[in-house]
Symmetry: C2
Subunit: 383 residues, 2 copies
């Protein structure tokens, strides 16, 4: 059946029909008063979602572009930075930092395990000369479905006093609370095709006053990704470069929907989806790749034993038209990932788990009792 695809990947995530309709409106001029009115509303709602009083900068980029902007605007060549690496995206930020000539020290953890806050605390405490200028880490590591302990690592950064904390919140923003102002997070980057419930094409960067102060002396080269240009324009409800007007139409509607649902309700929904998915996976005799105490609110990675991850994915795709994500880099073929981020409800999880059960049956997997997964998810949802 055509066009019946169900997206259960960690991005692009499902998009509400009213967002798609808004995107299909004819574009308007981005230098018009009508556009500025939309951007003013969007700006206010982005601050609400980011739990910050600062303007959130909006760029025409993917999540990687947003995070790169977050790193390169506040540092100078040779600056020492700590980068948390326990998955594909943490490693990417290390590569970005090196591409710009920063002095990168990686704090690593095995893929599938969380970063150890004590490792950051030690490095930061030992740096009495305050040479560490930034700590860069991924909050929800999409590649492994691990949620890093941002709150505790941030406390160590705050004790250090000098370093900025730069956070990839690409799959945590809109899925779990990221209280930017309360915690004093300096740079928080995210992307539209995740918790924002709109298609890819927009990146967001929230920036603290402390980071803007660092901006004044930071000397890494940039122009299109120069957040200072965005800051000036955003304050006047406009953009330094042509924005993707139709995606902004969609963002306007998506943010209205999010405000109507409410932050706490959104976060609680993602918790239920996560718990239901994990309970189901366990009930089917499969293992969540990430431990319970560091489960991403956006995605659950599953490590199947006695059955091929790629066989599960292709049967889900071919027989049930459900897209789940595979593993990345050395996890390719070893895990599969179930996205439960954004415009996803409990019914979607029940449907996906039911299809997963049927897939396991079809593949002759004998480790699971048919119905056990759905029953376990249902127990979470009705509990």
């Amino acid at each position: 059946m055509k066009d019946k695809n169900m997206l259960m990947i960690p991005g692009p995530t499902p998009v509400p029909a009213q967002v798609l309709q808004a995107m299909a409106k004819h574009p308007i001029g981005h230098r018009s008063g009508d556009y500025s009115k939309i951007q003013e509303e969007v700006s206010a709602n982005l601050k609400w979602l980011h739990q910050t009083a600062q303007d959130v900068q909006m760029l025409t980029v993917s999540g990687t572009g947003a995070m790169e902007a977050g790193i390169i605007n506040f540092l100078s060549r040779g600056d020492r930075v700590l980068v948390g690496c326990n998955g594909k995206f943490g490693e990417r930020w290390g590569e970005v930092a090196e591409a710009y000539g920063l002095n990168v020290e990686r704090i690593t953890a095995e893929w599938g395990k969380p970063l150890d806050p004590a490792a950051f605390q030690e490095k930061l405490a030992a740096d009495t000369e305050k040479q560490i200028k930034a700590v860069i880490l991924t909050h929800s590591e999409t590649s492994t479905a691990v949620l890093n302990d941002l709150e505790t690592i941030n406390k160590a950064v705050k004790e250090h006093g000098e370093a900025l904390i730069m956070v990839d919140a690409v799959t945590s923003m809109g899925a779990i609370s990221v209280p930017i102002d309360e915690w004093g997070l300096d740079v928080v980057a995210s992307g539209s095709q995740k918790g924002f419930m709109i298609p890819p094409g927009l990146g967001f960067v929230a920036v603290s006053e402390k980071a803007w102060k660092a901006y004044e002396t930071a000397n890494l080269p940039r122009y299109y990704l120069d957040l200072g240009k965005y800051r000036k324009a955003t304050a006047k409800h406009t953009t330094p470069f042509t924005p993707p007007v139709n995606l902004v139409f969609g963002l306007q509607v998506a943010l209205q929907m999010m405000r109507e649902e409410g932050l706490e309700a959104i976060f609680a929904r993602h918790q239920r989806l996560t718990q239901g998915t994990r309970a189901a996976v366990k009930a089917l005799g499969l293992s969540p790749f990430a431990p319970d105490d560091c489960a991403s609110p956006a995605v659950t990675a599953v490590l199947p034993t006695g059955i091929e991850a790629e066989a599960i994915r292709s049967t889900l795709r071919n027989k049930f038209d459900i897209a789940m994500a595979g593993g990345q880099d050395h996890l390719k073929g070893k895990i599969f990932r179930i996205g439960h981020l954004g415009f996803v409800c409990e019914r979607d999880i029940l449907a996906a788990i039911a299809a997963l059960e049927a897939t396991l049956q079809q593949l002759g997997y004998e480790g699971a009792t048919p119905g056990a997964g759905v029953a376990a998810a249902a127990a979470v949802f009705v509990g």
Copy 2:
């Protein structure tokens, strides 16, 4: 009347209904076979439009981001570059080059006048040590509606032999022939919201073999804008970073429409629209800002005398719901600009000119004979 706006600005340009509808489809995963099939088709059609056998790289950026990528991937810190500056965009490329520590020499012309090819030829001929690594210029300078003589300037670059030519074709691609392979243009950048007939959010960069050779030793920092990453991915019909899937749906349809119309027909249409607009402007006693022999095929800038440019724009907007562009920087309030790029037909020009005539009447302008503008445009279109 709501939502009856007519876009006569040089970007975003009008978008066909079938493109808007394609954009409103639910996104699919960008790592899926279905997405790769679309990208394969789009890639082939981009090559056709760009008149090149090379893959055209597609980035999630505005036109500025595309041009920055085109500059920074093929040069190294301290490299000497010539930048043609006769408008806002030429000046912007000088700023980009300086932001990355290039040794910038500007070749300027008054805004509204074309760049002098002889000035490039002299500089290049004098550079016997081949220290000039690139010549950067804007083909159609959107801010002044001047078309620079790319063909002649390119010949001087080819005689030099060493320098790359880097072209901002943001408002010329899809409006006038830019025969990339035939002329040997090294870097040609453009953006989706112009001749491509889709909303903003995608940038394109075509790159010659010679430029890719320079890439191997170029050392300016980049990651998100690293075209080498795009090149590898494009060859496999995928993207290094998440693409704006819904805009790509729109691009697919727009390129199909362009192929159906045919390159020569598209260029001829833009010539007729340009000639009709200019004839009408003159017949109304107003002056095209750019001389006839360097008229942009995308936009006509008008210098009114005895009447305020901004009064014309606001009456057109308020009474007829037509958006025309104002002047930029020091031309603000002095000129207005009529876009005739992309999904624009002769009827659109007749309507816009008729509304312009009515606007002039409403504002008490006595320099024009009512009907003279429409008659002059019609004479071009039926001729």
